[in-house]
Symmetry: C2
Subunit: 461 residues, 2 copies
């Protein structure tokens, strides 16, 4: 398999900004501000370390590692039934809403407040009001929690399309249960897909075609996709069309039914599983490497979508672009380490494209962060205990790295067949661009919103 | 219970150094350099987040969060049988050796090279050779892997005293098995305790009295403690004596038999345990809070030892001091979240004392880092899955925080009754003092050695 990131390692670019670089002072004289916010879903230091070891080796450096700023961000969420009480482990909906809008909310909520269900204006909506261009790029369905929180307002993240508005999963007092109040017939704004269709975005690229194929709530024969076209979107659906778009078009690109296929998978279907024991002794599983997932071949890469978005959004008034590498978390939920590794690689390639843009447009602030961490953990590939009858009680994989080592990766936060849990660990923030010296080494997620609006010269929300 | 750290939150000190602080320029004109290296054993972002949520609440800030520099450090170790192959998950011995001496080694090794078993000169030994004063402060036995790696050279970390030189635990090709070659009769330097006794340290404080009570290898009636006295150490054993020491004395303080008792424990013995299930449904355990561990009452705190050490080491030529908060990891191994939280609190109090010193001695570089991460993970306190028959397959605790939230803390990397595993995640580096703007946001552990020697004006090792 080809590790594309070897190229990345070589590109030290102009990143010798690690001192008190004077080259980034007075950004206000360098044209209208642009913001590129890159969110890795589940992109915590476990995932970064695992990806680093795999992609460039334990002695290597990722492009991330060369950025001039690195800090930590406290993940934020509250309980639905008592918004004064913290919920220490968040989900993408709550945290993307907090980053997008600066208001902390409860799990599952998209662009709405906990308990009181009021709309929270996102930074992209604020930018639109100020005449900036705005865009979203994701490897998830464009209706997924993270992108949705930048463009839509519903009480439950699973309300992707008009047919998905009731009977959602969560049953707990910490989160909402459905979004039937968001039906248009009930005075709401409709499903996430419908809200995207009627949004003012200049560009939105990702997966999720299936939700746009549903009939719009207020129609018997019009799909949400058609509705989007009626609202002025040009809709595209494959990689080739990405190259054909013109800047005066508003673009809705849907390249797969739901989440876009990930870049890597384990050789021979390798992923984490429960340890086998024979006569009480652990049978340590065979290590496996990662290989290209053929299903990803026809997909545009996150980097290709990023390049397209940057070219499309560039204008005299500035822009705000949110980019999500969604499957770090999704693949960790399903205990597929290679899937997560490939998605970190995609994030880094997207960052590389963003930095290349920033080098010629210095009033561009690039922030790279995560919505939340995940419980997947890099542990010894064989227990250090002499007895050897002990090992992980959860799902475990041994990954052979190109440099010849073996990583043990443990998924043991939930024995459900459905998923492993998020973690409440603080997440990374990397930054390059104007004003980064003013960012403290520790912030809360709502401050991502503050920093973004300040850079864009916008106030309020 | 009294949360001492509330005091810490209030002390923002002079930490408005977050910009490009000019106040820390030209340190070379401000007297001889001092180095304070604070190592939290197992002090990763999971442990920091858990401690932050408990000690100051999810909206609070730890003293750490106000430091002007924060980066990440790649943990380093290699295999004993093949030092060219990385071992992605390290132990305290290998990593402390790497930080102390700048050479990457294999698990279990203390101040010696993998496979070839050559001595690696530590930064404290280099400082001694240059006429600087040196000290070690730890909450572990002073013979434990982290402190030992700064003063001793043996092939296995468990060789605490003359009676502990053979039949060690590890059986794997990734690590050494014993240290019989280190017997003096075999041409070695003897046990760790004996090497401390004959060391040139000006001060070493911690636990481990039991190992100094053993008879020295080359004697039938002299304990290692007596040997230390013969080499010129004044030995002390309780808190009161800490206040009585004079600067012209060399001090060996041993306050407990082995590891010093930790500050907090779970109320009613609360710690993580396997989930109970009745009729297939998880019975979620009662949340518990932390309370003072009475056994710690008579112990000097890490902060008290730090203050004593700084007063003792101050001199015209500069000093190097290594401080370890050892039980973050030890308590995580034994799945006792309150023990780890209290030890993070001790680390922060020690940092507070170090920063207070640094404010009046500005040519003092303070580095705060970890030797390695731990697999303990902050996860939802109740599974978000509607079914609720699913939960952690490992040991799990629910901790009630003073602000009224509940944290779920998961220990599920090994089902052994003995311990949970380390993690290979990259670990934090915080810094304050001269030269910190030159530290990249990502380094490897060997660079801790480089940065330290550069600050101290020492070259080579």
């Amino acid at each position: 398999m080809t590790i594309k990131s070897l190229v990345l390692v070589a590109t030290s670019l102009l990143l010798a900004l690690t001192g008190c670089a004077s080259s980034i002072s007075k950004p206000e004289n360098q044209g209208r501000p642009n913001l590129i916010l890159i969110i890795g879903d589940g992109f915590d230091d476990q995932q970064i370390t695992i990806a680093r070891n795999y992609l460039v080796g334990s002695g290597g450096e990722l492009l991330l590692d060369q950025l001039p700023y690195r800090g930590m961000v406290q993940v934020q969420a509250v309980r639905e039934d008592n918004p004064n009480e913290p919920n220490y482990v968040a989900d993408s909906a709550a945290t993307a809403t907090t980053m997008a809008g600066g208001v902390v909310t409860s799990r599952q909520r998209v662009g709405t407040t906990a308990k009181t269900d009021e709309d929270i204006t996102s930074m992209l909506e604020a930018a639109q009001s100020a005449g900036l261009r705005t865009g979203i790029v994701t490897t998830a369905s464009v209706t997924d929690a993270t992108p949705a929180s930048f463009v839509a307002h519903v009480s439950h993240r699973f309300c992707h399309g008009p047919d998905n508005m009731v009977e959602q999963g969560a049953r707990l007092s910490t989160a909402t249960t459905d979004c039937s109040a968001d039906y248009k017939k009930n005075g709401g704004r409709g499903s996430i897909a419908e809200q995207i269709a009627s949004s003012k975005l200049d560009l939105i690229l990702g997966g999720g075609a299936r939700y746009f194929g549903q009939l719009a709530e207020d129609s018997n024969d019009t799909t949400v996709l058609r509705e989007a076209q009626d609202y002025g979107f040009r809709t595209i659906s494959d990689r080739a069309e990405l190259k054909s778009i013109r800047q005066n078009e508003r673009i809705l690109g849907l390249f797969s039914g739901s989440t876009m296929p990930v870049r890597y998978r384990g050789v021979n279907g390798g992923q984490a599983d429960f340890l086998e024991r024979i006569d009480g002794k652990v049978v340590w599983p065979e290590p496996f490497a990662c290989e290209i997932n053929p299903a990803s071949d026809s997909m545009p890469t996150l980097s290709e979508m990023t390049v397209t978005a940057l070219r499309h959004l560039e204008n005299e008034s500035g822009f705000a672009l949110m980019i999500e590498a969604a499957s770090i978390d999704k693949q960790a939920h399903s205990r597929s380490p290679c899937g997560s590794i490939g998605e970190v690689e995609q994030l880094i390639e997207s960052l590389q494209a963003a930095i290349a843009y920033q080098q010629t447009h210095p009033n561009t602030l690039i922030l790279v962060t995560a919505d939340h961490g995940h419980s997947a953990t890099l542990i010894p590939d064989i227990s250090g205990l002499a007895e050897l009858e002990y090992g992980s009680p959860g799902r475990f994989a041994r990954i052979r790295t190109p440099e010849g080592g073996i990583m043990g990766i443990n998924y043991a936060s939930n024995d459900s067949p459905m998923w492993d849990e998020h973690s409440g660990v603080a997440v990374p923030l990397y930054a390059i661009g104007p004003g980064i010296r003013d960012i403290p080494v520790f912030i809360r997620q709502a401050e991502i919103h503050t920093i973004s609006l300040q850079h864009l010269g916008l106030t309020g929300r």
